[in-house]
């Protein structure tokens, strides 16, 4: 096994992990603080991607488009919270799932009406479209390095926001005990809207970052949201730190499984059997991880304190 390939796959795993973190951090906050199961989080990921594609067309600049699409996605998130989600907090989780599943259908249909079924490509600026030569002879797509950089920067920013600021203190208080936080005079309604919009922005950013690679397409968030839920559960519900570690772990496991599992299996069985079973098995790896975490540490790897 060559070291260059392993290094490249570690970077690929890191890139996937960072993307998962952006999605999962919002999900875990919403789940942890509001006790709200938001299946439609993936729709905000899609909305972000479409906004960015439309704005890239309009402005001709990908970076400017991202800068404009972020607040636009935040507004959509806040609107969803105020119009729909707000009415559901007192209901049980099944109602959350039903209502947000309905939201997914609405968002998918809206996107189909507005932009058609064919999806939207985003043209990257030339400086982001090439490859970088890294130490050790490794050649890696520039844009994927940018995703890693941006994702880590957002993670750091989120850390500062949650740990060092007053808003962060309120968010943490809300995550630990929303009832008590409310009793202490924190405007829970406003806090919930803010957190939801924050989650929407991060999901939207993830969508904007993946769209130049895979295109913005209808239902693009519906698959990755399942993986994001796995991240939330493995990391511990409501824990940003847990989401970060779990996202990187799952990104790496998934990538490594896709890369090297068939090679490993070929040592144990015939080449043909390995070829057919490896994709199935590597798709299962992250669920195996989740099942083991649930069995041995049901609260997740890094549950928030006092829960």
């Amino acid at each position: 096994m060559d070291a260059g390939l392993v290094a490249a796959q570690l970077l690929n795993g890191l890139q996937l992990g960072v993307l998962l973190f952006l999605l999962a951090s919002g999900l875990t906050l919403i789940f942890g603080i509001m006790d709200f199961v938001n299946l439609a989080h993936g729709s905000l990921y899609m909305v972000g991607a479409y906004f960015c594609a439309e704005l890239t067309d309009a402005t001709g600049s990908f970076l400017l488009a991202v800068a404009l699409a972020l607040p636009a996605t935040a507004l959509v998130g806040a609107a969803v919270e105020l119009l729909v989600v707000r009415r559901l907090y007192r209901r049980d989780h099944l109602d959350h799932v039903l209502a947000t599943f309905g939201l997914i259908l609405c968002f998918d249909a809206l996107v189909q009406i507005l932009w058609g079924p064919e999806g939207m490509a985003i043209r990257l600026p030339a400086w982001a479209d090439g490859q970088q030569h890294l130490p050790g002879g490794l050649v890696f797509p520039t844009y994927r390095l940018l995703i890693i950089g941006a994702g880590l920067a957002v993670a750091a920013g989120l850390y500062v926001l949650v740990v060092k600021t007053k808003l962060g203190m309120r968010i943490r208080a809300g995550a630990s005990n929303p009832a008590m936080a409310g009793a202490l005079g924190i405007d829970i309604g406003l806090l919930f809207t803010l957190v939801f919009a924050l989650g929407a922005v991060m999901a939207g950013l993830a969508g904007m970052m993946i769209a130049p690679i895979t295109e913005a397409s209808i239902g693009m968030g519906n698959e990755i949201i399942i993986t994001a839920f796995v991240v939330v559960i493995v990391g511990g519900i409501g824990s940003i730190r847990g989401a970060f570690v779990a996202a990187l772990l799952i990104g790496t496991i998934d990538t490594m499984g896709r890369s090297f599992l068939d090679m490993g299996l070929k040592l144990l069985m015939s080449a043909q059997a390995a070829e057919t079973s490896a994709p199935a098995l590597s798709a299962m790896l992250i669920y195996i991880l989740m099942a083991s975490v649930l069995a041995f540490r049901p609260q997740g790897l890094f549950p928030p304190k006092s829960r």
């Binding site: 189909q112 479209d129 690679i213 295109e215 209808i218 239902g219 693009m220 399942i226 890369s259």
Partner: protein, 394 residues
């Protein structure tokens, strides 16, 4: 109260009564209209509507009713919709089907229901071989044929080693089997990726492996949206010039507009094989391509071409029996002759009712208007029949 009950009973009786006298040709068309793959379904539906217009909405003097259903990219939904077309709508022809796994799940419902089943795209090996049926016809190809043509091209181009990527489902396996059957060099690696409603679209890990394998070329089959995504990542990873790209059913008029918009010029000049091309010089193809471009402002895909043919095949059957839709034998015999103007030019059907036809080498080029398209450069396989026909006892 009594009145309501009566009205309800009357309504129920209406619903239960046979839904057609034989005064209308009913054609069911199952395709994918939702999920990102809905873009393929749109192309097919557009082509079918164009064909309906071109025949004036009539076959053999009868009105034609088209019922379009969405399989949602799922075999179980495809089967349900086929059941509905067979039992509730009582159609004469069940057609469409992009996906091999959807067709495989749906075939029994249509054939056991005594309907003609016409695949406008999917060509799984099973239906060409052991599961062949007298009432099944294809207006496309058997899955293995196009990659077999590509295997020959690879040999001609002097490609010694190959990396292979395809989605992990019935057609993906056929495509890989096809290229392996004719390609004489060494296959250095193979990835079968997750497919379906939640298909894998990020190929970073697989592309890194392909690159590390040091193969001369990479053979891929990624239909629909996945094709565009793959090509972009291939270029972003800097693989063009390092590992040459050979595709089947991947670089088509569905993927190309978005690739052009994203500036993925690496795809220009890349080679693929196909039974058809928008510039193929036949009278029917000229009418079809110019009509399609006029009506919808874009190039038709091969999915559209096959769907267009589907309507003309059915029309030839209905006309041969003079509109007597109870004459299944007559219609079957007429279709088996392939006596209709096909976009691919004249062809004949094999014993398994798959076309025996040419396969062409096509290159991605920019047309006179600056639009990216494909052009036929060579004939790779002449009058080619699929290898599973011998397993078909018919």
């Amino acid at each position: 109260m009594k009145k309501t009950a009566l009205a309800l009973a009357a309504a129920a009786a209406l619903l239960a009564s046979p839904s057609h006298g034989d005064d209308k040709v009913k054609i069911g068309f199952v395709t994918t209209l939702t999920t990102p793959a809905g873009v393929i379904g749109r192309d097919m539906v557009d082509a079918v509507n164009l064909a309906m217009q071109d025949i004036g909405g009539k076959m053999g003097g009868l009105e034609v009713e088209l019922i379009i259903e969405d399989d949602g990219f799922k075999p179980e939904t495809g089967k349900q919709k086929t059941d509905k077309l067979v039992k509730q709508d009582d159609v004469h022809f069940v057609s469409g089907f992009i996906w091999s796994h959807v067709l495989l799940a749906s075939r029994k419902s249509a054939l056991d229901g005594g309907k003609f089943l016409i695949s406008s795209n999917a060509g799984p090996s099973q239906i060409a071989g052991k599961l062949c049926h007298e009432n099944f016809f294809s207006t496309s190809w058997q899955n293995d044929q196009t990659p077999m043509a590509m295997g020959e091209v690879l040999n001609q181009q002097g490609v010694k080693s190959l990396y292979v990527m395809a989605p992990n489902y019935a057609a993906g396996k056929n495509m890989v089997a096809g290229v392996e059957r004719t390609f004489k060099g060494e296959i250095l690696g193979k990835d079968m990726t997750k497919w379906g409603k939640d298909a894998q679209l990020d190929f970073s890990a697989e592309l890194a492996k392909a690159k590390a394998s040091g193969a001369d070329g990479i053979f891929v089959f990624y239909p629909g949206k996945a094709g565009g995504a793959f090509i972009k990542q291939y270029q972003q990873a800097g693989l063009q010039g390092e590992i040459a790209l050979y595709t089947v059913f991947t670089v088509d008029s569905i993927a190309l507009p978005n690739l052009q918009k994203a500036g993925m010029s690496g795809v220009l000049g890349s080679l693929n094989t196909q039974f058809w091309g928008p510039d193929l010089d036949t009278p029917q193809n000229k009418q079809f391509v110019s009509g399609f471009k006029k009506a919808y402002g874009r190039y038709p895909s091969f999915y559209a071409a096959q769907s267009y043919d589907t309507i003309f095949l059915i029309k030839s059957a209905v006309e041969a029996v003079g509109g007597n839709l109870d004459d299944m034998d007559g219609m079957r015999a007429a279709m088996a002759k392939a006596d209709f103007p096909s976009v691919r030019g004249p062809f004949r059907y094999g014993n398994n009712h798959f076309p025996i036809q040419n396969f062409y080498l096509r290159k991605v080029v920019e047309d006179a208007d600056g639009v990216w398209t494909t052009t036929v450069v060579d004939t790779v396989l002449k009058d080619h029949q699929d290898v599973y026909a011998t397993d078909c006892k018919m």
